[in-house]
Symmetry: C2
């Protein structure tokens, strides 16, 4: 939208910390960009940037204004969605921040199902840990967040939450594979692979281990759930994952078993949005579908 062009320039400058860099990113001259911003500052009544040697940085007024821009942008998207809705086109774009566990099965399936009914709706899916996901919502960079064990709940409005037990992942021929559920101590005694501390699964595991005076000693620590899934096939190690990220039928060489509830309480997989925000139609409808799907997918 043309009338927000100046704002987008301001955002670009804020992002790159330099007018010249931002100018290049936005395909115009530094001088043009500079003057747009100076003119806006004059009209607005305050400078938006601290000019330091070597670049610029947003000052508090600039931060505030950028926040306004994001609200405006998001509200405009909402209106466009509503308009498309009443023209019968049902266009729209849904932006989701989610945990890795949702990537292999759940989200692709949900998105495909939604798009089958509404081909005009497109999606952006970003992988964010539980801290970042909430920032995304607060800056209107995402409409929805689907995360496991979120950290701060300010500005975060829960749409739906489902308990998820932590499952242990192993090769089908692993010695523990025949047990219907596993004890935490069995896992800690054996080589295991774990996500790093930014992830909810790890957080729950650390907490549970500490409670029994033990601690995790992963042979491999990673931020990639995919790596975990594949690694356990090589070393006969144990991995950890929530069931929504697993599919029994996917790979017959891989099995997963829940951890005993008395060792580790189920965590919460939470679908949420920015508190108080009215979502664009497409996002709201998709949230409804996901919410329904989640409620029938407890584990």
């Amino acid at each position: 939208m043309r009338h927000l062009y100046t704002f987008s320039l301001i955002e670009a400058v804020a992002r790159s910390g330099s007018m010249r860099k931002a100018a290049e990113d936005m395909n115009l001259t530094a001088s043009a960009l500079n003057r747009r911003i100076r003119r806006f500052e004059e009209e607005f009544g305050t400078e938006l940037f601290e000019r330091l040697p070597g670049g610029v940085r947003l000052n508090p007024a600039g931060e505030l204004l950028l926040q306004h821009y994001r609200l405006t942008q998001s509200d405009l998207a909402k209106v466009q969605g509503q308009v498309a809705d009443l023209t019968g086109e049902r266009r729209g774009h849904v932006r989701i921040a989610c945990s890795q566990a949702l990537l292999p099965y759940f989200l692709p399936q949900q998105i495909a199902r939604y798009r089958a009914e509404h081909p005009g709706v497109t999606f952006t899916v970003n992988v964010r840990d539980r801290t970042q996901a909430e920032e995304e919502l607060a800056t209107y960079a995402s409409d929805l967040a689907l995360v496991f064990e979120p950290v701060y709940l300010v500005d975060f409005e829960v749409i739906q939450h489902v308990p998820q037990r932590v499952h242990v992942l192993m090769a089908a021929d692993h010695p523990l594979a025949h047990k219907p559920e596993l004890r935490l101590r069995d896992c800690l005694d054996r080589p295991h692979v774990a996500p790093n501390a930014r992830y909810g699964v790890r957080h729950l595991l650390d907490f549970a281990a500490r409670r029994v005076g033990r601690q995790l000693n992963p042979v491999v620590e990673t931020e990639s759930f995919e790596l975990i899934r594949h690694y356990v096939l090589h070393e006969h190690a144990l991995g950890f994952q929530i069931p929504i990220g697993l599919d029994a039928s996917a790979d017959s060489r891989l099995v997963h078993r829940p951890l005993a509830i008395r060792d580790l309480q189920p965590g919460s997989l939470i679908l949420g949005q920015m508190r108080g925000r009215t979502l664009p139609v497409a996002s709201a409808k998709f949230a409804l579908q996901v919410s329904a799907a989640l409620s029938t997918a407890e584990a």
Copy 2:
């Protein structure tokens, strides 16, 4: 703000129902305005107006967009307030929709008191009945509403409410002036002056009268509370008003006595804002002050 210029034009066209009239109002040519709007519609993807012979009218998409404009505008004002606040200027503008009863004493006093501390803050006060006041909030035309017995409470968030008994107003030498409180039947039996049905006081009176199988028969019905106050001095009639609109010391020829509670329950004087909205600093602070003042002004 320049980047909202097109929106302001759209609003002007919507208001006047004609491009040519709007063009004149906004001091440009009909052609220029027309093209601005056509270009915006193209960029936005939908027409905003129904073109009828004899003029134009907003279509639903236009309504939606205008709503976005108002939100944007109001949020920008909020940001400007915050910025002014952190530059130490403490500027701002507060827009209030209120009942007539607040005009003579309460609001002037509150505004003066606030401005004594914050001379940079200016005010707009509009008199609106209880229905209109809520519309004002919904369209962001006002920040605060201070009304007696509001009708619909959707989109209306109550900040503070104080019970207000209905008082009877009469000349000091009126036969009933010596009683500490009056009965409704005494009033109905004598000539009385009342506000029309749009006002909360009248609504309460009608309700109370119907409950005892009677009805009001005002010798003068008016929308002006001021007229009522002055009229009772001339005919020895009875008027009705809530105490916040009265001041014992103001005019010694005038006295007021409460109606018996068993005849008429106190109504609610309510300070409210648009549900979910974050007010500009000045408005929020003023609301706080008014809220405190109200809570010590029950009757």
